[in-house]
């Protein structure tokens, strides 16, 4: 312990990003002393996670890629009938799958134009010195902790024509004409589904925006106000641009979530009526686990994978690129 002050003089305690980098490099100087011990430690500490990850996350992707080139009912041990790209050709011509893509785009479009702006608005609202805002925040976020299944079963009943809540309320306020079979009408079901998705997830995005908003220094918005900007101008020219990174991440998560949507749809509507609320994962489940066309279902899995991956790479390359570069300098103080 005698040497402790001397060390502290040499280098101040790590605060920023650069100090953290040094903190990582520091042990390496000792590596020369105990290279073998370190190497064993690295292997022992890393291998369990790596093995689990390889076997259960990476291997399934490889298996799906392989089986997608076969016609296979899944019962014989290994797929034997190689069919090349037939499954993918069939996929591109499949009306249901093309419908899945269209419906996925509608859900993403609706999320970006209604759910996320609403979440942003509520985050701004709860950033005001409003009495009881902690209660509101707790309440708005609560649906996020309910499982999609619970939410879906609850709303299946809320939307039901006979014992449901929605039609009853519409009747009560004299809008009986608007009452309908929310989950059985082919032209409405997708929007009912979207409502339930938003009900569950808007609080999550709101929490992200709130966290982002609270990281914006007060001085910036105050300075703008002093300069004579009104509330909207402050939001438009100061808050919104500074929330950019948070918004871009929230858009990313919302889109990825829509691509892999399953639980909610499967329980709420099963994808029906006549596929009008079906999404890719539901089609994959029907084909693979109900009709046992494992090869074709693998092709759908691969399509989902490729769509997610291309979207993620494209998005990170072109949309979030600046944030990642900026993050190092701007967020350095907090790393």
């Amino acid at each position: 312990m005698v040497t402790r002050p001397a060390l502290a003089d040499e280098r101040p305690p790590a605060q920023g990003f650069h100090d953290a980098e040094q903190a990582i490099d520091a042990p390496s100087r000792r590596r020369n002393r105990r290279p073998i011990g370190d190497r064993v430690a690295i292997a022992l500490f890393l291998l369990p996670a790596l093995i689990l990850f390889t076997l259960l996350v990476l291997a399934p992707i490889v298996v799906a890629a392989y089986t997608s080139f076969f016609k296979w009912n899944g019962f014989v041990d290994v797929p034997l009938t190689f069919v090349g790209l037939d499954n993918f050709e069939r996929l591109l011509a499949d009306e249901v799958f093309r419908g899945d893509l269209k419906r996925g785009l509608i859900i993403i479009g609706l999320s970006l134009t209604t759910q996320l702006p609403m979440a942003l608005g509520l985050a701004m609202l709860l950033n005001q010195p409003l009495r009881g805002r902690t209660v509101y925040r707790l309440l708005f976020f609560a649906p996020y902790v309910l499982s999609e299944v619970t939410t879906a079963v609850l709303f299946m009943i809320v939307f039901s024509p006979e014992r449901g809540l929605v039609n009853y309320v519409l009747n009560g306020i004299g809008l009986a004409g608007l009452g309908t079979t929310w989950l059985a009408d082919t032209s409405i079901v997708l929007y009912s589904l979207f409502f339930v998705i938003s009900w569950k997830y808007f609080g999550f995005h709101m929490i992200l925006y709130l966290a982002g908003r609270q990281n914006i220094p007060k001085e910036l918005t105050e300075a703008a106000t002093v300069d004579g900007a009104n509330a909207w101008q402050v939001f438009r020219s100061v808050t919104l641009p500074l929330l950019g990174p948070t918004i871009r991440i929230s858009v990313f998560l919302s889109t990825i979530g829509a691509i892999q949507l399953f639980d909610m749809v499967w329980v709420l509507t099963g994808g029906g009526p006549v596929h009008q609320s079906e999404v890719m994962a539901v089609t994959m489940f029907q084909v693979g686990f109900r009709r046992f066309e494992v090869g074709y279902a693998s092709a759908i899995s691969m399509a989902m994978f490729i769509i997610s991956l291309v979207f993620a790479l494209f998005y990170q390359r072109f949309v979030m690129r600046r944030d990642i570069e900026g993050a190092v300098t701007v967020m350095g103080g907090r790393r």
Binding site: A23, G74, S147, Q260, S308
Partner: protein, 274 residues
Amino acid sequence: MTKRVKFTILHLISLVIGALIVVPIGFGVLGGFKDNGQLSTSPLGPPSPWVPSNYTDILASGIFWRQLANSTFIALATTVIVVGLSAMAAFVFARFTFRGREFLFTLFAIGLMFPFAVAILPLFILLRSFGLLDNPLGVILPQAAFGLPVTIIILRSFFRTIPAEIEESATIDGCSRLGFFWKILLPMARPAIATVSVLAIVASWNNFFLPLVVFNDPTWWTLPVGVQQFQGQYSSDTARVLAYVTLSMVPALAFYAVAERQLVGGLATGVTKG
């Protein structure tokens, strides 16, 4: 005056949104205390008379408790595995330098991009060949594997903030690197460990797709699978289904009440660091 008007409007908006959340949940809770006749005639009003039998029947039957126990066991086992393995890996990623470190870390980080839904079918095939169907490990291990990326990322960034001086002085005092990990780093990382544990518990608790395909045998069903099956079985007895839904919400909301800070904080940091 204008300020007052503004805050009145803000309160009104908050109350409307709050009602949109409270009313469906309240409808479920109260609906469980009604019979189906009452549900049809007055879905919104209070039950008259109160019919507790929907709840008491479920609580007395044992299925609900079984599923609650299964969900709890699977969530805890998943969390112990994913947090344990991630802490070890994050320690290596944060405080050792070696060739291939960044490559391996990126490999895990890319795992964030693999949606569960993509892997479910091949995962099922793999689990079947490992003989893990109808076995809780068939759910626990994949959940832990898919939880690794986010847990490693959060823990690594936390481990990096602990100054090298602490490790150096521990070494001078005769502490091995392993000892440093056990006796100093892990205790210091308690808040981060709590955060990632809460995230892992919630993810496991709400998982439906994997237990749905892995558990054919009802003895292992978790609450989400149980709720869905119960709905299928009693679809015409709406009040009973509402009682089951309400009971399945109770543990999640209770956990939220206790761990709200870790959950909200974890999501915010997890997302910005990921």
